[in-house]
Amino acid sequence: MTNLLAITLKETKAYFSTPSAYIVGAMFLVLTGVFFVFDVSKPFAEAGVRGLSDWASFFIVFLAPLITMKLLAEEQKLGTLELLLTSPVREWEVVLGKYLASLLMLLAIQSVTLYYVFIVYFFGNPDTGPVISAYIGLVLHGAAALAIGMLGSSLSGNQIVSAVVATAILLIFSFINRVSSLVDGSVAEFISALSMNARLSDFSRGVIDLSHVVYFLSIVGIFLFLSIRSLETRRWR
């Protein structure tokens, strides 16, 4: 446990002391900000965050891998993984510790968007329920995206490769529901059940479905497990 906390603390410090995380955060805020402005300046715009959360989860697909890409890839490239794994530290402590740091970073970035929520409340009278559910969806989706990014980072010593692999996996999970219309029956059901987008739109509409929560948490669990496995097998190669 102390190992895990030490790793989380070290990675969190690294995020806040290096420019790359700030750049990713700024990109996220600029993009969501622009689309937020488009959304609320439409005639008869709805006082809510639905448009904001939809765009935010779309950009997460591209930005989460940029947050996680260095976590394990850099250790492999620099060789520091050798010192880390020859210390009395377990692989799961390394993966989970780093994952928690990336989650803290993402939460910090996402929390800045609360400023837009403040604006909506200041100028309008939104329904609070959907605002809360949209943010729960945003956090769950972000957590799942980071876990997938973690796997990407464990697979390669090259950060670009790590980010591209993770983005590809995330895009498949996001848009696989489009494929389900091409097939029918239980296959179609299965495919649309895998999709993140269908579930996210429920959250932004104000629905918190327990199965959606379980879905996102399962993605986190499965991909962190795969990352730990991937790290373990690196030793055996």
């Binding site: 190992n3 210390s87 009395p88």
Partner: protein, 322 residues
């Protein structure tokens, strides 16, 4: 303190080390000497539990590196050859982190950092970002993290490679001092360095131990052997006695061959003698068919020669610029 038992490691089909067995007593400094690519780093990585051996095992302070890896790792301080460090951390932050993941309490970490920083003469650079340090100082940070948690066993892989001559001298002295209260394994491809620092030397070549000796004996007791492999088509009963008659042949070993109407022999000959010509002439003159005649690997003398030459190519180790 360290017991390596028949360690073998394959990378794919390539044997990096084969059948390595040795032990290091408490308080001993063992030198691992061999040319580049001999399997030194692989052995270090196996001993520290970074990669598992394909077969065999090792015990560190009584703990098996495969079965009780976590326990074994607690007793090891390790400096890999490439000195991997987190470039964007300050020296003291880095050492704090390394201390924490080795289970030291924050007060322990604090006092130990002051001690190791003093020992490695890094006081002025405690708050410097590691990425800004020169190679020699990075090396000291590497050694600092290895000794931080007061491990029983220190494993240093090529600790003087790539640093300037004056720092080499200082580093060697530092290692010698560390050897007084640690069990230490040091790898090097520089013969004089090993004889200067170590109590005992293992010479490793192509993944196998070719000699174990006291460093002072290394130069004088270099009476080695050379081996030749021979494949001949002919009657074994006649070949063996004929081979024995050749002057300089010490031992003839017949190696079983599966499927093939020929015989294979490994012949040990006197050091420094090349008997390939005599062997070939004998086989042909007797009317047998010579299928293969090959010198087996490098002799101890050649390895020794290579090690000595590599040192001469490096800067003068005494620190005087030549």
């Amino acid at each position: 303190m360290i017991d390596a038992i028949d360690i073998t490691k394959f990378y794919g089909d390539f044997p990096a080390v084969t059948g390595l067995s040795f032990s290091v007593e408490q308080g001993e400094i063992l030198g691992f000497l061999g040319p580049n690519g001999a399997g030194k780093s692989t052995t270090m990585k196996i001993l520290t539990g970074f990669i598992p051996p394909s077969s065999g095992t090792a015990k560190i302070a009584g703990y098996d590196i495969v079965e009780q890896s976590l326990q074994a790792r607690k007793h090891i301080g390790y400096l890999p050859e490439t000195v991997p460090l987190y470039e964007d951390m300050a020296v003291s932050d880095y050492l704090t982190f390394m201390g924490q993941i080795r289970g030291m309490s924050s007060s322990q970490v604090k006092t130990r950092i002051d001690e190791v920083v003093q020992l490695c003469r890094l006081e002025e650079y405690k708050d410097t970002i590691i990425g800004k340090l020169s190679k020699g100082y990075r090396q000291r940070v590497g050694i600092s993290q290895a000794i931080l948690h007061e491990p029983d066993v220190l494993v240093l892989d090529e600790p003087t490679i790539g640093i300037d001559p004056i720092q080499v001298v200082e580093t060697r002295q530092l290692i010698k001092d560390l050897g007084e209260d640690h069990t230490l394994i040091l790898s090097s491809h520089i013969l004089p360095e090993v004889s200067m620092i170590c109590d005992r030397v293992i010479i490793i070549h192509e993944g196998q131990i070719v000699a174990v000796d006291d460093p002072t004996n290394l130069g004088t007791n270099l009476a080695g052997v050379e081996r030749v492999e021979l494949e001949v088509k002919g009657p074994n009963r006649e070949i063996m006695p004929a081979l024995e008659l050749i002057g300089g042949v010490q031992v003839i070993e017949r190696v079983p061959v599966t499927g093939g109407a020929y015989h294979r022999y490994q012949i040990t000959v006197d050091m420094g003698k090349d008997l390939r010509h005599e062997l070939a002439t004998m086989v042909v003159n007797s009317g047998w068919e010579l299928l293969k005649l090959q010198s087996l690997g490098m002799s101890l003398e050649e390895i020794f020669l290579r090690l000595t030459i590599e040192e001469e190519q490096l800067p003068n180790p005494t620190g005087e610029m030549s």
